[in-house]
Amino acid sequence: MSNTIKIKKGFDIKLKGKADLTVGKAIEASRYAVKPTDFSGLKPKLSVKADDIVKAGTPLFFDKAQPEVKFTSPVSGKVISVNRGERRRILEIEIESDGKFESVDFSKGEINSLDRETVKQNLLNSGLWPLMVQRPFGVIPEPDVTPRDIFITGFDSAPLAPDYEFTLKDEKESIQTGIDAISKLTEGKIYLGLRPGSEFASLKGVEINYFDGPHPAGNVGVQIHKTAPINKGDVVWTLNIQTLVYIGRLFTTGKLNLERLVAITGSEVKKTGYVKAIAGLAIKPFIENNTKKEVKERFISGNVLTGVKVEETGYTGLTQNQVTVIPEGDEIEPFGWISPGFNKFTAGKAFLSRLMPKKEYALNANYHGGERAFVISGQYEKVLPMDILPVYLLKAILVNDIDKMENLGIFEVIEEDMALCEYVCTSKIEVQSILRNGMDTMIKELA
């Protein structure tokens, strides 16, 4: 049983630098890292120190609040250093690969013969557990909770996002095994959201819904809202289809294997495309000798809406399968507010670039204006395909009104769902961080 849901609201940011559907030479590199900062609400506690020898799947740290949630090394080798930031916050644990890619042995076997506890323990021990996300509030799933349903998104609609139909076309078996495994975790349904015409339609044990329309159609939050919305008291878990591949491999081979294709994208990349790499790899091999260097560049692990800014010496994230390079844009623009704007891409209509709707643009990271109070109304609603009044929700958060936040739908959204609101905002309001503050307040309140 499946149906197609047409998403009307939303917006595709037309960026230059879409990944060519070609696979480049696999990346040979030695430095990897795991970044606790990629996970909301995580308080990491180290289980290794510098110079320890690890395998893929050896725990590096765990969550202080729920110690059974472990974060493991993606490769075998040696821990080189633990980098800390302000107030000794752990930023990243760096590992030098030994090139052997050995994994800890985890239990494997016919999924149907395994019980819920075994599946859960295997996911927790291997470090794949925190790649799932619990809603409301976008946190690491609580091991003691049985989720109402599990939602999987089978495509990414974000700007320049990797095309999973291409990158995972040979991984269908692992994905199926992954679905079989996680179906042990819930008594509810497993939902899978796909683009119409998807190759993944043949997967079994899932309820498939098709989503047609602009970004954020691929966001699991939108898909949940359109199929079985989250009410107060509900808990659901979400995954992206790539994570299912890792889970499938774990149960088939007993090994942790985070190898996947990464999309190299963005206007400043010389040769876009896909390369094979293990999650957590340093960003350098992706971009070395492959950026134009015409202007100051910004490196992003992930997409331009929700990705993480990475220094040239930094690392890609475990959950992101994309690297984007855009111009930094740290220069002034004389009389920018009055120029006709043939080359200025906009979601609105106040620039002449709208006469060329097909053109792709090299957007930079400039704010293009100063921060102001909420003035313009009706803007956010156009890019949020949910029955939620975004400005009222944000105002409820700003005045810290718990009841209103609940009533206006804070259980249903996380940062990525409202990232486009932040992009279109005339007043340059930091929507994603306001929403995160609201969710953190709610977590404290409900604890």
Partner: protein, 388 residues
């Protein structure tokens, strides 16, 4: 790098304006001027890496551009009415007519901006925030909605009242409840009624009082209609060759501005359309139950008379004081249209109801939105299982 010269200039002088600098009291002026000359080089630190090119400055400037046709026409019409009143129109050239109005309107605009921006800069300095662009729009709207014979000191007081009491007291642009320009107009209307209505304020006669032609009346069509005297040509009203506030008379010029606002996505077409529908509907009802000549005028004439078009296009659509939800905008606009025509036709004291209708609905906009929001909340609660 493009424009680096001016940035270097500002960077060089910046320390003088920062805390402890000699010119610190003028920091807000310095920054306001700087962002006027160029969009700053600030880049994103968190959240979305890319941001749309639209900002509040461009939005507000576009509204000002939309007002320009009515402003230019208003200047011409001041001259047109003047030379007609003294019976010399046929001997006077186009540019002479225009410059007569231009020279009379310009001081009003200058006073409006000087007083308003002066107060805005002072508040920005005291509160330590960036200059808000809001007054760029109010500053041009206020001169256009007052009679040409308003003394400049009255303009100054009205502007000061509106910026301080109606805007900054609430927290500045984005926080105000009422449209600041209309508050200025309402202040004048109630504080100096003799200068705001009647037959003698709409047309500048100046020193040519002895030349006024026989049978001249300076009253507006609406002023006359209220006394049962229907005397206007509706196409004059559409093109704008009637007495009235400086910028409100030409429905045609206002429509040009309205089209610009809708095409650029800056103004809310929902509010403009809803207001028009509300007015037409009320006009029809009044036609059906007409007991006096004013109630009998064809319902669509109301769109071209008085301040209706100006109010619907430039005043009701102020995003801050209007309803914020899409459904709310429909209700808000409809009620403005209905109330404007009811006040205009049925009330004996004021010949024009648009200003009061919009201010009243500004007051109720949060209530309308409240019910729209509650509707959304109820839907969500209904969906939730009863056990929770």
């Amino acid at each position: 790098m493009k424009g680096q010269g001016i940035k270097n200039f500002f960077d060089k002088h910046r320390p003088k304006f920062e805390k402890g600098g000699k010119l610190h009291p003028f920091q807000s002026v310095f920054e306001g001027f700087e962002t006027f000359l160029y969009v700053p080089d600030k880049t994103t630190k968190k959240g979305s890496h890319v941001r749309d090119y639209i900002d509040l400055k461009r939005t507000m400037i576009f509204v000002v551009l939309a007002v320009v046709p009515t402003m230019l026409f208003g200047m011409y019409n001041i001259g047109y009415q003047h030379f007609h009143a003294i019976g010399e129109f046929s001997q006077t050239g186009f540019w002479e007519v225009f410059f007569y109005g231009f020279l009379r309107v310009l001081p009003v605009i200058v006073v409006s901006y000087a007083v308003g921006l002066g107060i805005e800069f002072t508040f920005a300095q005291i509160k330590g925030h960036e200059i808000n662009e809001g007054y760029l729009v109010s500053g041009i709207l206020i001169p256009l909605i007052i009679p040409i014979d308003t003394p400049l000191w009255m303009v100054a007081i009205a502007v000061a009242f509106s910026v301080i009491i109606a805007k900054e007291a609430f927290g500045g642009t984005g926080m105000n409840i009422w449209n600041p320009a209309l508050i200025a107009r309402a202040f004048l209307f109630f504080a100096y009624p003799a200068h705001m209505s009647g037959d003698s304020v709409w047309i500048r006669i100046g020193q040519d009082a002895d030349k006024v032609v026989d049978g001249f009346s300076g009253a507006t069509p609406l002023g006359l209609a209220l006394t049962g005297n229907i005397d206007y040509n509706i196409w004059d009203a559409f093109w704008g060759f009637i007495p009235g506030s400086i910028g409100e008379t030409s429905t045609f010029a206002i429509l040009l501005g309205g089209a610009f606002l809708i095409i650029t996505g800056i103004g809310s077409w929902r509010i403009m359309l809803a207001t028009t529908i509300g007015a037409l509907f009320t006009g029809l009802i009044l036609n059906a139950f007409a007991v006096n000549p004013f109630m009998e005028i064809p319902f669509w004439h109301h769109l071209f008379l008085g301040g209706f078009a100006f109010g619907a296009v430039f005043m009701a659509t102020d995003p801050v004081s209007a309803a914020q939800t899409n459904r709310g905008k429909w209700i808000y606009g409809l009620l403005i249209g209905v109330l404007a025509i009811i006040i205009r036709v049925l009330n004996p004291a004021y010949p024009e109801g648009v200003m009061l209708a919009i201010l009243l609905m500004n007051t109720f906009a949060p209530l309308i939105d409240h019910y729209v929001v509650q509707g959304n909340v109820r839907k969500r609660l209904k969906r939730a299982p009863a056990t929770v």
